[in-house]
């Protein structure tokens, strides 16, 4: 997690700007993080195992108090080039390889706005039901930090491109479900800063400006959330939205989607807000959920003990290892960013035609999809699953267009197809099975041409090799006629689904690969595929991949 931890801090580096000994304070922070990681493999793991209880129990005991939560989300746009120069941005590039005099802030250079940024901002503004500012402008936000080349960030201050919108969210069924509408205060365009790479020894830091100038949209919510799960679902819905709109990959691990959460607690009935605490460094929605609920509990406890004066306006970091928030920095008065209008850029003027065209081109958004699926009679569980990923939703919709039964199509997609995707680490767009063949398969089972069992067999062939249902049925007929393979074929479908058995296999593999486990926990999450492969090998290919991955995921994170 160390790398991600760094990113979390650096992204918000402006908050360090006014304090003294800035660099070294940060160095300390990163060291403490490193040591936490070191313990993580042994001792901390056990503590975590003890701490983590069933999800419901995690919800803070807030009787008599209510939490007020507002979120600032930064979404990195995947435009071809940066916001104000023609440099590309590719996550993970070698440091300082995608930079130019403009994004390095050389003397004499000037920003030139990438029009895609405006287009994406308008799309998101529309999707968030915002009012658009037909004329907005850029401003300069000043602070000194080595990752900020110009000494100011080009942002929008008093006239953001979009304001006063809302977003609709369906809470997950396992958290009790329910529909919520959260207000959006504003959406504005700005540029990202670079990042600092701290040396192992902590004696120096290096500046990587690859990310400097990458376009961001900052989305500020109204303080409408009341619990960790609401906040996490708000963020998840933002992620779905930007992915559906095709404006960002919304990847939290890469920092393409970053959330800063403000939490305060007040006695129910009181109109005045409690002291606001900002939480940073949450790398997943589940971490957001846990971090916020932890913070609420902490504040409620202080309130109920009459120590509400011990709640300070400060920034706290979520530490995954400890499952706690820690003080990062107390606020030293209000920062003065000395905003003023950016004189190097003309105003951003939107025309009605431009907005109308983008409006017409908007895809069906997650909320509309969910309502449509719900009307088809699908369960909320199915609805949430299918509408979660735009590619899955597209696949589902395409198979419906070919006449597939919604419930059956949903079952196939959520069951065997999804398991296959997880196991092979593929996205639904990468498989050989087409929505048409899925609908054919469903039809063939429904009309009795083949049994469900044969259907499953055919499905795996289709997923792995492609082809058509028709030709595979013919092929199977031939094979069955020869009576050579049926036994072996059948044995291939003896699948281990017993979680205890699979858990044993997972434990065995984890124990046999301590080095990879450590790397995984250090942030190399791609290793999950390696572990899955090993377990599958151990089970001689018989482990149910869905169950396997579920158990493996939990075990890898050391959650239980």
């Amino acid at each position: 997690m160390a790398l991600i931890f760094h990113r979390g801090i650096i992204a918000n580096s402006q908050f360090f700007s006014r304090s003294s000994g800035v660099l070294f304070r940060r160095l300390r922070a990163s060291r403490s993080c490193t040591s936490a990681r070191g313990e993580g493999t042994a001792n901390t793991l056990k503590e975590e195992l003890i701490q983590v209880a069933p999800k419901r129990a995690l919800e803070p005991n807030t009787h008599g108090f209510e939490a007020i939560i507002g979120i600032e989300t930064h979404v990195q746009l995947f435009t071809l080039t940066k916001a104000f120069c023609s440099c590309p941005y590719v996550y993970g590039s070698r440091p300082n390889t995608t930079i130019c005099p403009v994004c390095m802030g050389h003397p004499g250079t000037l920003p030139v706005l990438n029009s895609k940024v405006v287009e994406f901002a308008v799309k998101l503004g529309l999707a968030l039901n915002c009012g658009l500012s037909m004329t907005s402008k850029f401003d300069r936000k000043h602070y000194f930090y080595p990752d900020l080349p110009k000494g100011y960030q080009i942002s929008q201050f008093d006239i953001p491109i979009a304001t006063k919108g809302f977003i609709d969210v369906d809470l997950p069924v396992e958290f009790g479900g329910g529909h919520r509408r959260f207000g959006i205060t504003r959406v504005h365009m700005e540029e990202d800063a670079g990042k600092l790479l701290h040396s192992e020894t902590g004696s120096y830091s290096q500046v990587d400006l690859n990310r400097a100038g990458v376009p961001l949209l900052e989305i500020v919510s109204e303080p409408d959330m009341r619990s960790g799960i609401e906040a996490a679902e708000y963020a998840a819905e933002i992620q779905r939205l930007v992915r559906f709109l095709g404006i960002s990959n919304g990847n939290m691990q890469e920092g393409s989607l970053r959330c800063d959460v403000n939490v305060s607690v007040r006695p129910i009935g009181q109109s005045k807000f409690g002291t606001k605490v900002e939480i940073k460094n949450m790398n997943s929605f589940s971490a957001m959920n846990r971090a916020i609920d932890y913070e609420i509990s902490r504040q409620v406890l202080l309130h109920s003990q009459g120590q509400s004066d011990q709640i300070f306006q400060e920034t706290r970091l979520w530490e995954e290892g400890a499952q706690k928030t820690f003080t990062m920095r107390k606020k030293e008065g209000l920062a003065d960013y000395r905003y003023f209008p950016e004189p190097d850029l003309p105003e951003v003027v939107l025309t009605k035609e431009f907005v109308d065209k983008l409006c017409q081109g908007l895809p069906e958004l997650p909320e509309a999809k969910r309502r449509r699926y719900e009307k088809m009679g699908l369960t909320m569980q199915d609805v949430l699953f299918l509408a979660n990923d735009n590619h899955v939703a597209e696949f589902f919709d395409a198979s419906l267009e070919n006449g597939a039964d919604p419930k059956l199509a949903a079952n196939w997609i959520m069951g065997d197809i999804s398991a296959f995707l997880k196991n092979e680490r593929l996205s639904i767009t990468e498989i050989k099975l087409t929505p048409f063949e899925l609908s054919e398969l469903i039809a063939s089972i429904k009309n009795g041409t083949i049994s469900g069992k044969i259907g499953k067999e055919i499905l795996f062939e289709l997923l792995a090799k492609g082809g058509t249902v028709q030709s595979l049925i013919e092929e199977k007929d031939l094979v069955q006629a020869s009576l050579i393979f049926p036994v072996r074929k059948a044995s291939e479908f003896i699948i281990i689904v017993d979680p205890a058995a699979i858990e044993a296999l997972v434990d065995k593999v984890l124990a046999a690969n301590p080095k990879q486990l450590e790397q995984y926990r250090a942030g190399k999450t791609r290793l999950q595929g390696f572990f899955a492969g090993q377990v599958m090998k151990e089970s001689k290919g018989k482990a149910n991949p869905l169950v396997l991955n579920q158990i493996l995921g939990v075990k890898l994170k050391g959650e239980s």
């Binding site: 800035v22 003397p107 004499g108 920003p111 706005l113 000494g151 000395r338 003309p346």
Partner: protein
């Protein structure tokens, strides 16, 4: 010693006979569209003006007074006719530069490749290929304009040794037109100052009197053209930094409309006011340079897409005009610029210049710009505010001088404390203050409101008048050190010019007379202000004014002495 000033009015009259134009026929011919009938000025009318134009006591020094001809066109002509090679021309300028530079110190860096580049031009001439409009022309470039591979410091120690990885768009265009960058000229640090005394490296002297300042901030560029160390030069004008030194050094200085010339590669001082301008020994030379550097640039969003007319070709045919070529031209003399606080010699030169315009057919009316006096404080608030932001990037992290310390705040503090000069620090402090929470409305916002008023008052005045005229500076060049400890007096010197930047308008300064001082008098420049993108008109008027002005000889004594 320069020859003693000519004192006899009767001898002065002799020179009036030499007024016709001196553009060589070869260059004029292809551009002449009108009839070839040459019309001369009515001599009596001109001589009447000359009696008023300046005090004969301090009149120019040489009897062979001629209107200035275009150095650019004469270089081109001699290259095309093979009378001279570009290497000859470069050799001549470099030789003069070497001899004058110890006195004037206008260059921070002199290119080592000038001769090589001149030889390249000669090969091009030999090959018979088309020559760019500035082939073989030696250009001085103000040090805050980026030149690839050549130091560009903006006159600041914090950028000592910094070599930009790219050419400013204006420089790129000059090079594409065949120009040779002879070196980087001295300036007040980042353009903040009016004397070059604010340079982090050296003080430039005025070629008219080396005990005096050349003006600033583009003092090096003005002095270099005045002393013929280069043919033309680029400067930048944020609050008068081209026009004031042009007036002090007796050269033509052009501040184009905001956005006419790309700012890409110009180290930003106050982004909403900065303009790249140019200096030349004649209006034609300035026009040819403007032709080359103007136009929209995709690297500068504030550069204008307004069409670029051929500023120079228009001037070629001016020898065909009638005896009153400015007939019908409405000229407004800005009342606020010829009153209290303005040197009497300057006022009389400007009034004489106005009379000359009248002789040419223009009608002169006094106009008042009520918001004029508000321009100075508004300018200093806005320019300082933008400067405090623009100069944030000089932090020692990525380029330039970095203090050797082991803690981040000291890295910033010490690098900037060591690298930036006192005037720059003062303006950063003022600007930071003006933008601070709680003060923003009282300073920055209010100054912007004043700016709107000033824009409007200029617009109104320029609806009634074709151009406005005023002195470029309230005084002639003053002594080095005279105002160093009185920044307010120095700022007050910008009163004539800052309003024009606030309004974003073009202005041309043409030498128009002399006041007493130095061994040969000190030049005074007339500022002509036009509406946005009216450079063509300004250059035409300036050209006629310059070509018809009696006793037009703005050659500094230092040059006569050394050459």
């Amino acid at each position: 010693m320069p020859p003693p000033p000519v004192r006899s009015p009767s001898r002065l009259l002799l020179c009036h006979c030499r007024l016709p134009f001196h553009i060589s026929p070869q260059t004029r011919l292809p551009l002449s569209h009108n009839s070839s009938v040459r019309r001369r000025f009515h001599c009596s009318a001109v001589s009447a003006v000359s009696a008023l134009s300046s005090d004969p006591q301090i009149a120019p020094t040489d009897l062979t007074t001629t209107p200035p001809s275009s150095h650019i066109l004469s270089i081109r002509e001699s290259l095309l006719s093979r009378r001279r090679t570009a290497a000859d021309v470069a050799g001549e300028y470099l030789d003069r530069l070497r001899r004058t530079e110890p006195h004037i110190r206008s260059f921070l860096h002199v290119s080592e490749t000038t001769m090589r580049e001149a030889e390249e031009v000669d090969r091009l001439v030999a090959s018979g290929k088309d020559l760019g409009p500035l082939a073989g022309v030696l250009v001085g470039v103000k040090d805050n304009i980026c030149t690839a591979g050549m130091p560009s410091t903006g006159g600041s120690r914090i950028l000592e040794g910094y070599r930009p990885p790219f050419d400013a768009t204006a420089v790129r265009k000059l090079k594409e037109a065949g120009a040779i960058v002879i070196g980087k000229t001295n300036m007040d640090e980042f353009g903040m100052g009016s004397t070059t005394e604010g340079s982090g490296f050296q003080v430039t002297a005025n070629p008219w009197d080396i005990s005096r300042v050349p003006g600033g901030s583009s003092g090096g560029s003005a002095a270099a053209v005045s002393a013929k160390q280069c043919v033309v030069s680029l400067g930048s004008d944020t609050g008068g930094s081209v026009r004031q030194p042009a007036s002090f050094c007796g050269v033509v200085g052009l501040k184009p409309t905001y956005g006419r010339v790309s700012r890409f590669g110009l180290m930003a001082y106050a982004s909403s006011l900065d303009v790249i301008g140019c200096f030349g020994a004649s209006v034609i030379d300035s026009a040819i340079v403007l032709n080359v550097v103007s136009g929209h640039d995709r690297f500068d969003s504030t550069s204008s897409t307004h069409e670029v007319p051929d500023y120079a070709s228009f001037l070629m045919s001016t020898d065909h005009f009638e005896s009153t070529p400015l007939k019908g031209l409405k000229v407004g003399m800005i009342r606020e610029t010829i009153g209290d606080g303005v040197d009497v010699g300057v006022i009389s030169s400007i009034k004489a210049a106005a009379l000359h315009l009248e002789e040419l057919g223009a009608t002169i009316t006094e106009v008042s710009l009520p918001s004029f006096s508000l321009g100075l404080p508004a300018y200093y608030v806005l320019a300082s505010s933008e400067a405090s932001s623009n100069l944030s990037r000089y932090d020692g992290v990525r380029y330039g001088n970095r203090a050797t310390v082991d803690e981040l705040n000291s890295l910033y503090g010490d690098s900037r404390a060591d690298g930036l000069g006192p005037e720059v620090k003062m303006r950063i402090l003022m600007g930071t203050y003006a933008l601070s929470a709680g003060y923003y409305d009282a300073y920055y916002k209010r100054a912007q409101q004043v700016r709107t008023l000033i824009r409007k008052s200029f617009k109104d005045a320029l609806e009634k008048m074709d151009i406005l005229v005023s002195p470029a500076v309230p005084s002639p060049a003053y002594k080095i050190g005279e105002k160093v400890n009185d920044p307010l007096a120095m700022y007050a010197g910008d009163i004539m010019t800052v309003n024009v930047n606030l309004a974003g308008l073009p202005a041309l300064v043409v030498p128009c007379g002399f006041v007493e001082g130095g061994s040969a008098g000190l030049p005074v420049g007339l500022q002509m202000i036009g509406s946005s993108f009216s450079e063509e008109k300004l250059l035409r008027i300036g050209h006629i004014f310059e070509q018809t002005l009696p006793n037009y000889r703005f050659v500094p004594p230092l040059f006569l002495e050394l050459v």
